[in-house]
Symmetry: C2
Subunit: 348 residues, 2 copies
DNA sequence: TGCGCTCACTCAAGCGCTTTAGCTCAGCAC
DNA sequence: GTGCTGAGCTAAAGCGCTTGAGTGAGCGCA
């Protein structure tokens, strides 16, 4: 008897039809809220379906042209940077919340690089696996929008800048430039004149945006000793770059890190070099998480609601799947949470 | 012209059949390596398929009884504990690696609790969405194995103890008891007699295993001042519990944390109370990540290869899907990485 | 009474694939 | 010549659902 697989049979519409004494088509109409059946029949069918625990087979649905009831999400980052990043799990959990409500599945895949990611989209499309995708980490010179256009796959770009060249794509983005501007403004007010920006991956669109915004703000204020350095987001590079910039003859008095991991690593590196935070150097993390309260001093951070970000993106995709128009949605500008790592610049 | 969706048509087997001048059945045989076609035809068909960029429609495949080519993964943890946890992303990336090679999709879902998770399995099963699932966070008194048995859904339990009651399930697990034993042994050798174990979620099977193992080890050595306290894995509880245990009249000289996040929070809490690590109290984290090297002192940690763990689990599931037998696989015992947070007990 | 119309429903085809049964023809033994 | 075999292929059904084209009853209206 052991090892026996009962494998209870799944009920189908045919079963419902039989029990309700109507045709399969009637069942289909009834369950999909289509006209063509009386309210009485509809109710009866619904009751039978419920009672049988019926659920539509996604395979059959997909095959008859209804789409796969699934959206795709590819993460293309080097494996080692996937580590201690709270952003993606939060984002995904927000996405889920919205998708689950519509019984849409989330097909998740990690890819080695963007090229790989494109291959995944092609495969998903050819295999009829997804109805749309959520694209993260948009890049400067990104091949993905063109591809998705070509495939006719509805998509929402998360974190991209508005893009007129692809009117089919929705975009959900945060105003990095604005955030950077107010950040620089705050630091400037505190007397900081030498600022280093330890940025993320060089090819990412938002990295680019932040770098440009910083340069613009510096220009406007006549600050000449302002720099951005790109990294791979890892604690290792955060530490290495911090060490390098602080060792210069006129070290920065404020450090802006593009994520929390590097900021934490950076604080440790600064301490190692004898710099005290915030007395000698102020630190701000672009991304708030528990991490920021795990080190002394607690890190001031730009906080955004990543879960909400995910919700927004998913909502846009759902609307796209419903035939809605592509849109560009801006989520709220991240808010600076002032903690103990920022203070007035040391008088030079 | 803008907004036009070209929506290139997907090639089907019919297209291949036409171009290759054979019937659809022949194409099916050829492409699935089934007997019934000559090598010459097989080659020709394959070439045409390749040239057309054909990929089988998963929907059609699933409908004709081949399974959905997808496995499911549900994460049922309170949203706020999802934050800074490196384990799951690593695990998933290991899983992916194996699944991708077989062109299996990973359907991912976050659920509120185990009950919710069960509902997801039922739905997936009824909707024909997945061929098997990976179950994480096994619990004492877990409803999931029974359910999966009932549904006849192949499954691999990740982190569970071997379970004879469900011969249909595969299990991939680490020997927590052994790891705990050697940990206690090490601490005992260093002179520690009062040990506090800040454990994870109380219902998880591995939490239970570790607690029991600690108690057993303490019993064997006649240590009476050894305790385990369960938490929700969050930095907040890690900090609170640390504070509480260190405030007692005879505070522990060694702290074992069930994850890296709590360990880091704990070190900060200890420092706040005037305890120096490792002089006054030693700290070990059960889970190694970049976090452990982001604080001073660097944390000693039990390190396991989570990516490999994922690979192993996925491999087992694939074998199950191929009709292989259910198995129980043990992954290597986590290894203690000694850094700066452990040392001899202060002479009392 | 008969015409046309609507409503509620049924029939049957079709989505892209697998699979079983069957068909054809060459090769061979007798 | 007949009969058998097996290799190589085709025809057709079926998976569970949707959908457009019927069908037939009931009704209003001239």
């Amino acid at each position: 008897m052991p090892g026996k697989r009962p494998a209870a049979r799944r009920p189908t519409m045919k079963d419902i039809a039989r029990r309700a004494g109507v045709s399969e088509s009637a069942v289909s109409f009834a369950l999909n809220d289509r006209p063509g059946v009386s309210e009485v029949t509809r109710d009866r069918v619904r009751r039978v379906a419920e009672q049988l625990g019926w659920r539509p087979s996604t395979a059959a649905r997909a095959l008859s042209g209804e789409g796969a009831a699934t959206v795709g999400f590819v993460l293309a980052r080097p494996a080692h940077t996937l580590g201690v990043d709270s952003f993606f799990l939060q984002l995904v959990s927000g996405i889920q919340e919205v998708l689950a409500r519509r019984h849409l599945g989330l097909l998740f895949q990690v890819a080695a690089d963007v090229e790989d990611e494109c291959a995944v989209y092609r495969r998903w499309w050819a295999e009829h696996r997804v109805d749309g995708v959520l694209v993260v980490d948009p890049r400067t010179d990104d091949p993905r929008p063109d591809l998705l256009d070509e495939l006719g796959l509805p998509a929402v770009v998360i974190g991209g800048a508005p893009d007129e060249r692809h009117p089919g794509l929705s975009t959900v983005w945060a105003d990095d430039a604005g955030a950077m501007a107010s950040l620089v403004d705050g630091l400037h007010t505190l007397g900081h004149r030498r600022i280093a920006h330890i940025a993320g991956l060089p090819d990412l669109a938002h990295t680019e945006r932040r770098i440009r915004a910083l340069r613009a703000e510096a220009g406007r204020r006549g600050l000449t000793e302002v720099q951005s350095v790109t990294t791979d987001y890892s604690d290792a590079e955060g530490e290495a770059v911090t060490r390098r910039v602080l060792r210069s003859s006129a070290p920065p008095t404020a450090l802006i890190y593009d994520n929390d991991v590097m900021a934490v690593a950076g604080v440790a590196a600064a301490a190692g070099l004898g710099f005290s935070v915030p007395a000698d150097v102020s630190v701000v993390a672009w991304e708030d998480s528990a991490l920021c309260r795990m080190v002394k001093p607690w890190l001031s951070a730009l906080s955004r609601d990543s879960v909400e970000f995910g919700r927004t993106a998913a909502t846009e995709l759902v609307s796209l799947l419903d035939g809605g128009p592509a849109r560009t949605v801006r989520v709220p500008v991240p808010r600076l949470i002032e903690r103990d790592s920022t203070g007035p610049a040391r008088a030079s």
